[in-house]
């Protein structure tokens, strides 16, 4: 990032002030733990759709897409098409099943589908994975905040963690729902505006553009730089395996990912829970047109040699106020992912581990207090983690493996008659162990022998045969899954 303009600091200060005002207003709606965790199940279509879409956009969907376009061209648009496919499948195949049982967390659904041990192991692993992921997101958020304000990454990460924790403490999912509308506004204003300015005014200034605006001018400038536009603008500029990887990743990453889909749990009714993901998919797809093109502009204009800086370089190259709106849009995309991740970890800690597992008889006032304590605990852990372990970023994809294996067991539990609780339990355990060995090269580096397979794909490749073979060898009897949950109530869901 270049020189820090005072207007950068001012814009961040205004954004933070708006977030605090919205958080304070949202806090008035919290009267119970259900209000805190699932917005009292009263979210409308746009709240659910915007929260879900904002969560998914994140750093990979903005800075990451731009970097990829800089390196490999506009085939990167498949990234958001694949993400939209995963979200679409969630709405079509899963949301109504979750909503029918009025769940608050994914591990809870695993109890209804399978048994107590599957719920417990999934809750524990999900809590660990999302806390780990929270550290990664806070570091990413700190990096972008450092870029905008000129602070060092660690103090910027600390500010980011405190900010997110503060507004989650105020009203939990209500905070996220309201603030996500604001974030989507920033994303849908900042990025298209920067895109429009670049195409209309910056492209004709490029050497070789012949004064043409838009993609024609950009293509002319590319030819001038010996870049072939038919390659860089091709939807197939990326190798087929990479595009396939986007789809596998996009599909595995959504339907059982607590942080992404819990807004559907807060939907006013089951129809909104199903419809909102489709609207999210509509909101997500155009993102890579804007961020990818801005990254490609940075390459064509020779703004940087560093692909990771492609988007930021373009945004600092255009007039300050437009660049700032664009930077705030990226900030909004990343913080909306970070808040959802922290909230998912806190929700599982409060509901599954502290309340349901260890003390299910507590009154709702205590449960609400525990939820706030959990947000504080997760916020503190991620803050310390971001200060002490920024290198965790390199292991980011490892966390995705748990979402993949959870998807496998939920999908088979819903749609396969033979799905057995023991199979679900051992599929989760074996998937997690396999992912750990694969990611950390224990005892050897498996990747060269397995076509450098993504860790979440590897997890699924292990989990499916384990699940299917145990299910085929096991028989449902009246004793299967008959262990009641701790201090169970007689109430049925």
């Amino acid at each position: 990032m270049g020189e820090i303009h005072p207007i950068h600091l001012g814009s961040i200060a205004v954004t933070v002030a708006v977030i605090f005002v919205i958080g304070t207003l949202a806090s008035r709606r919290v009267k119970s733990s259900e209000d805190m965790l699932v917005s009292g199940r009263s979210l409308g279509l746009f709240f659910v759709a915007c929260s879900l879409a904002a969560e998914y956009m994140g750093g990979l969907g903005t800075v990451g897409v731009s970097e990829r376009a800089f390196n490999e061209g506009m085939g990167v648009v498949w990234y958001h098409i694949a993400a939209a496919t995963g979200i679409l499948l969630f709405g079509l195949l899963f949301a109504h099943y979750y909503r029918k049982y009025g769940i608050q967390t994914i591990p809870e659904y695993l109890y209804y589908l399978f048994d107590v041990k599957t719920w417990k192991v999934n809750a524990l692993l999900n809590f660990i994975a999302y806390t780990f992921f929270g550290v990664i997101e806070i570091v990413a958020l700190g990096s972008i905040l450092a870029g905008i304000t000129g602070l060092a990454i660690q103090p910027a990460a600390m500010i980011a963690a405190v900010l997110v924790t503060a507004y989650l403490l105020a009203a939990g999912m209500w905070s996220i729902a309201y603030i996500s509308m604001f974030y989507m506004g920033l994303i849908y204003l900042g990025l298209p505006l920067a895109f429009f300015y670049v195409m209309r005014y910056a492209v004709p200034e490029l050497a070789g553009s012949a004064g043409a605006v838009g993609f024609a001018g950009l293509a002319n400038a590319m030819i001038h730089r010996n870049m072939d536009p038919s390659f860089w603008f091709s939807p197939f500029s990326l190798p087929p395996m990479v595009i396939l990887g986007f789809f596998v990743g996009g599909i595995l990453a959504v339907p059982a990912a607590q942080a992404t889909i819990n807004y559907a749990f807060g939907a006013r009714n089951w129809k909104i829970a199903r419809l909102a993901p489709i609207l999210s998919a509509v909101l997500i797809v155009p993102l890579s047109i804007w961020t990818g093109t801005l990254g490609l502009y940075a390459k064509t204009a020779g703004l940087t040699e560093e692909p990771k800086l492609a988007l930021i370089s373009t945004l600092t190259h255009i007039p300050a106020w437009i660049g700032i709106l664009g930077s705030l849009a990226i900030f909004a995309a990343i913080i909306s992912t970070a808040d959802s991740i922290l909230f998912a970890a806190a929700g599982i800690l409060a509901k599954d581990l502290l309340q349901r597992w260890f003390n299910p008889k507590v009154d709702d006032h205590t449960a609400l207090r525990w939820t706030r304590c959990s947000i504080l605990i997760v916020g503190a852990i991620t803050l310390v983690g971001a200060m002490a372990l920024p290198e965790l970023l390199k292991q980011a994809y490892f966390v995705y493996s748990l979402r993949s294996v959870t998807l496998v067991v939920v999908f088979l539990g819903i749609y396969w008659q033979r799905a057995h609780p023991n199979a679900a339990f051992w599929a989760i355990i074996s998937g997690f162990v396999a992912a750990t060995l694969y990611q950390f090269n224990i005892p050897v580096n498996f990747r060269p022998y397995l076509w450098d397979m993504h860790v979440s794909v590897f997890t699924v490749v292990v989990a499916i045969p384990v699940f299917v073979s145990i299910s085929l060898c096991s028989k449902w009897t009246s004793q299967t899954a008959s262990e009641p949950p701790p201090l169970y109530s007689e109430e049925e869901p």
Binding site: L113, A216, N269, V285, W476, P484
Partner: protein, 61 residues
């Protein structure tokens, strides 16, 4: 030199998919609106149905 109305290939794909999703959203809205609210009880997860068939009690967590 590119024609001023040049429209790159990736845009056909992106905008085509976006329009498709918009149509799916509209069609799905109409479809869901026509479904009765009670339809939710007809969506039955196989594993939960196994439990019900065998009389295994499911408690509210």
């Amino acid at each position: 030199m590119m024609d001023r109305g040049y429209f790159p290939d990736f845009l056909y794909l992106s905008l085509g998919v976006w329009l498709f999703l918009l149509v799916v959203f509209l069609a799905f809205s109409i479809y869901l609106k026509r479904l009765p609210d009670e339809k939710i009880y007809e969506f039955k997860a196989k594993a939960i149905e196994n439990k019900k068939r065998l009389g295994i009690k499911i408690y509210k967590l």
